[in-house]
């Protein structure tokens, strides 16, 4: 199918939608209705759109034929028109035809499908690799060639979600740290998960792959044009499944390299201070930020938790009991619960800070201070 027929088909769908919209719900007919895939920006996504349009066309034609035959029969062969019932109830020729013809149509559909599938599977010749890890409820990106890694989580303010503020243009589809990728390069993704199953999906790239703990799935992309492409976690992964979007920023290779070196510097800066002794107030201030990013989703912004599901932080036995137990659960997690091991996610300073914050904020007041060196000793 050529690109122009693709567009005209899309146009037909869009007009059809507008007519339907105008018929059913006057007043919102002017609203934007997306009726088909988002605009592809990779060759694969383009192939998928073509394949989808082709099979949509085939099944639409089949359904129109079925509808016309049924409707004709309903109209003409009714008792109220005095139509007498025929008595036939078998016809081997017909049975053979409507077994063989659909089979041939299926074969015709299977050929381009197989070709596309084989193409998608071919990760050979990739020029760089990014490891994608799903966490409840954020993504981690490790650039294996550039030695850069960071977490990426929802940046839509809670007030917008709770209808206390106007929703922004990219509501629920915006993150603090997008995954930045160079255009025109074949990029291999290694997809896995830390806790439960997630799925990394960016429609415009035509990439969707499950992120499964214990598995490393491979998939690739090659982005044709610079831009910002948004997607979401596609596999139910618990409470905030709907709140772990993906934002891809595709840039030129030069920009990408510059970005990567800046990221590296940032990572070094974040490590700074691991050796020194921190004051309590500095730790609490830093810990409050870490808490907001890593803990608040379950334990609540004010430490109240969700009764029966996620324990409260305020007055908790862990956060007010022995420091060693607190360190242990934060660093190593608790098996069989959503509490994951944070020792791989946070650096020494952040771990020390967040534990200090939990013991001295959120209504707790133990006075304990945990230093980065104590965390380091437990690694």
């Amino acid at each position: 199918m050529s690109i122009s027929s693709l567009h005209s088909l899309k146009g037909v769908f869009q007009r059809l939608g507008l007519i339907l919209a105008a018929t059913f719900v006057p007043g919102i007919a002017a609203a934007e209705y997306a009726l088909n895939f988002q605009r592809p920006v990779t060759e694969i996504a383009g192939d998928l759109l073509e394949l989808h349009n082709l099979i949509t066309l085939i099944v639409t034609v089949i359904m129109i034929i079925v509808f016309c035959v049924m409707f004709y029969s309903i109209l003409m062969h009714r008792k109220s028109r005095g139509h007498q019932a025929a008595t036939f109830h078998d016809n081997s020729t017909l049975e053979v035809i409507w077994t063989v013809v659909p089979f041939l149509i299926l074969v015709a559909m299977a050929i381009p499908s197989t070709a596309t599938l084989l193409k998608m599977d071919d990760t050979s010749g990739s020029e760089m690799t990014v490891k994608i890890t799903g966490y409840q409820w954020k993504w981690k990106y490790d650039y294996l060639d550039q030695d850069v890694s960071f977490f990426s989580s929802l940046s839509t303010p809670q007030d917008q979600i709770n209808n206390k503020a106007d929703k922004g243009e990219n509501y629920l589809l915006e993150v603090d740290n997008p995954i930045v990728l160079p255009v025109g390069k074949k990029i291999r993704f290694l997809v896995t998960a830390n806790d439960v199953i997630h799925a990394w999906w960016v429609p415009q790239l035509g990439v969707k792959k499950d992120a499964i703990p214990g598995y490393v799935n491979e998939i690739w992309t090659k982005i044709d044009e610079p831009g910002t492409y948004r997607g979401q976690c596609a596999e139910l992964c618990g409470k905030d499944h709907g709140f772990m979007p993906i934002v891809v920023q595709a840039v030129s290779e030069d920009e990408f390299n510059k970005w990567a070196s800046v990221q590296k510097d940032k990572m070094v800066a974040a490590q700074a201070g691991a050796g020194k002794t921190w004051t309590k107030s500095d730790l609490v201030a830093r810990g409050e930020k870490v808490y907001g990013q890593s803990c608040a989703a379950c334990h609540g912004p004010s430490g109240a938790g969700v009764p029966g599901v996620f324990p409260a932080m305020t007055g908790s036995k862990i956060a007010t009991g022995p420091v060693a137990d607190h360190l242990n659960i934060v660093m190593n997690g608790k098996a069989g619960t959503a509490m994951t091991a944070y020792k791989g996610q946070l650096n020494d300073v952040d771990l020390a800070a967040v534990i200090t914050f939990e013991r001295n904020g959120l209504g707790n007041n133990t006075g304990d201070v945990v230093q980065p060196s104590q965390v380091k000793a437990l690694r």
């Binding site: 059913f24 919102i28 934007e32 209705y33 997306a34 895939f37 394949l51 989808h52 099979i55 099944v59 089949i62 359904m63 049924m70 029969s73 062969h77 009714r78 109220s80 139509h83 019932a85 025929a86 008595t87 109830h89 078998d90 016809n91 017909l94 409507w98 077994t99 299926l106 299977a110 499908s113 197989t114 599938l117 084989l118 599977d121 979600i161 243009e169 990219n170 509501y171 629920l172 997809v191 439960v196 999906w201 429609p203 990439v207 969707k208 792959k209 499950d210 499964i212 703990p213 997607g231 979401q232 596609a234 596999e235 139910l236 618990g238 905030d240 499944h241 709907g242 009764p307 029966g308």
Partner: protein, 517 residues
């Protein structure tokens, strides 16, 4: 009549009954109740999705609603409803005095209310009910509170009920047919149920195994599905869908049977291609066991697996198409009238075909990478399960209720229910195709702004659909209580043994077997 025929009244009649008609009635009212319970949950889901932002419920509760809605509808509403129909109709259609194993029959039913209570109670446990989707994928299901254990136990009991019910159905059909009722003379509804019962026997124990392994992973330190302990989370999906795919045919084959009874009656013309219908049903049943991994294209299977499951799944379109063409040929050059059951059958066939072709689209592995886990899938399976199974059940209720109660339902009310259901259903689910194509994932309590309009259509449709079912409840109660007296044959074009007994069917029928020519 002997003393054996005297039966208790009041509560003990229903508790101790071994009569297939009583048990059929119990099944049907139970499933209707669950239909309303599951429907209420759907209303909560659609109300929350009316606009972006969180308005009504918390995300964790939203996840419980989608999960329990599905479990209640599949295991509490649709499956028991078809078993209820089987109880009422199979003996009447094959000329048997009752089911083969009447006491087992009583127990099969009375397991259900306990299972349903456990399932609904799970919502009130600390931590709430199951929130990991009806597919119960670990490791997420290992995380939940004790509501998950309630669910596992409920699934076990529901499964036990289904297995016992299927054994009874197979025994009845194979042993209790009236003289002259050879296998190839059985009404199609009997055939589809016979095949469904074998599907149940083969698949439910697999589900029971899967949830038992979940239970031991949760509490007894096994690591069947825990990668860190040497287990495999994907193995659960293989096991679950080995049950799950036959399950979707368990939900829809008896519906095919219903369509095959209703359409010839109102077309006043014999079913076209009886033999090919039987073979198509058997072929679908066989294929349903070798297509399971088409639910898992994105888990990262080897290429050979992706291709095998794509081709085998596409093949299902062939026997399914044969069925649809046969129904169309049955209507062709008939002398049709359009009473409520016929409206449901025609709409059911056509809308199921819509779900069928979207199923074909989903079978195409590469395209599925874009469709998988989006609202396109939600739209697809509601077109198959609602339009296939539920519309068939509605049609069946209108078709046979004169035989059950001796009263005709009110035709105007029946048609009103039909059209409201049509408008509500299509308005709810058709726009969801577009939502999915445009990129809206399923199972999310809140969504990006570009999905607002179609979600609002969908919510409006859902409220219409929900309200229409209250009308159905009213129609059913009204028909049970009274109405125009039904004749024995009820429908002008009706054929089959069930139409030879009086309306309402007496408590005991075919005590002396009829002779089938």
């Amino acid at each position: 009549m002997s003393a054996h025929d005297s039966h208790p009244t009041g509560l003990s009649r229903w508790l101790f009954t071994t009569n297939h008609k009583d048990i059929g009635t119990l099944y049907l009212w139970f499933s209707f109740t669950m239909f309303l319970v599951g429907g209420a949950m759907a209303m909560i889901i659609r109300a929350e999705l009316w606009q972006p932002g969180l308005q009504l419920v918390e995300p964790h509760f939203f996840n419980q609603m989608t999960t329990v809605h599905a479990l209640v509808m599949v295991f509490g509403a649709v499956m028991p409803a078809f078993t209820g129909l089987a109880n009422w109709q199979l003996p009447l259609m094959i000329g048997a005095p009752d089911m083969a194993l009447p006491r087992l029959n009583n127990w099969s039913f009375w397991l259900l209310p306990f299972a349903a209570t456990l399932l609904v109670l799970s919502l009130f446990m600390p931590g709430g009910g199951p929130a990991a989707g009806w597919t119960l994928y670990p490791p997420l299901t290992v995380q939940g509170g004790m509501g998950m254990d309630f669910t596992i136990l409920a699934v076990h009991i529901l499964g036990m009920s289904s297995i016992l019910g299927s054994i009874n159905i197979i025994a009845t059909i194979l042993n209790m047919r009236a003289p002259g009722m050879t296998l190839m003379k059985m009404p199609l509804f009997v055939w589809t149920w016979l095949i469904t019962a074998f599907l149940l026997l083969a698949s439910i124990p697999v589900l029971a195994g899967a949830v038992t392994m979940l239970l031991t992973d949760r509490h007894f330190g096994t690591h069947f599905f825990d990668a860190a302990g040497g287990g495999d989370p994907v193995m659960f999906q293989h096991i679950f869908w080995f049950f799950g795919h036959p399950e979707v045919y368990i939900l829809v084959l008896p519906a095919f049977g219903v369509f095959s009874q209703i359409i010839p009656t109102f077309a006043r013309k014999p079913l076209f291609g009886y033999t090919s219908m039987v073979f198509a049903t058997a072929t679908i049943a066989f294929l349903s066991f070798i297509v399971w991994a088409h639910h898992m294209y994105t888990v990262g299977m080897p290429m050979a697996g992706e291709l095998f499951f794509m081709y085998s799944t596409m093949l299902i379109a062939v026997p399914t198409g044969v069925k649809i063409f046969n129904w169309m040929a049955t209507m062709w050059r008939g002398s049709m009238t359009f009473e409520t059951p016929m409206l449901y059958a025609i709409a059911g066939v056509f809308l199921f075909a819509v779900g069928g072709v979207t199923g074909l689209m989903l079978s195409i592995t590469p395209a599925d990478f874009q469709y998988h886990d989006t609202y396109f899938v939600v739209a697809h399976f509601h077109y198959t399960i609602f339009a296939g199974s539920v519309l068939a059940l509605m049609g069946a209720a209108y078709y046979w209720i004169p035989k059950w109660t001796g009263h005709m339902y009110n035709e105007t009310l029946g048609k009103t229910h039909f059209w409201l259901t049509m408008i509500g259903f299509n308005l709810t689910f058709f726009p969801q195709h577009f939502l999915g194509l445009a990129g809206m994932p399923r199972r999310i309590p809140d969504y990006a702004l570009q999905f607002t309009e179609f979600n609002q259509w969908s919510s409006v449709g859902a409220f219409i659909l929900g309200a229409a079912q209250l009308l159905w409840l009213y129609i059913l109660i009204k028909t049970v209580k009274g109405g125009e007296k039904a004749t024995d044959k009820v429908w002008e074009g009706a054929e089959g043994l069930e139409w030879t007994v009086p309306s309402p069917a007496p408590y005991h029928t075919f005590s002396t077997p009829p002779q089938v020519r």
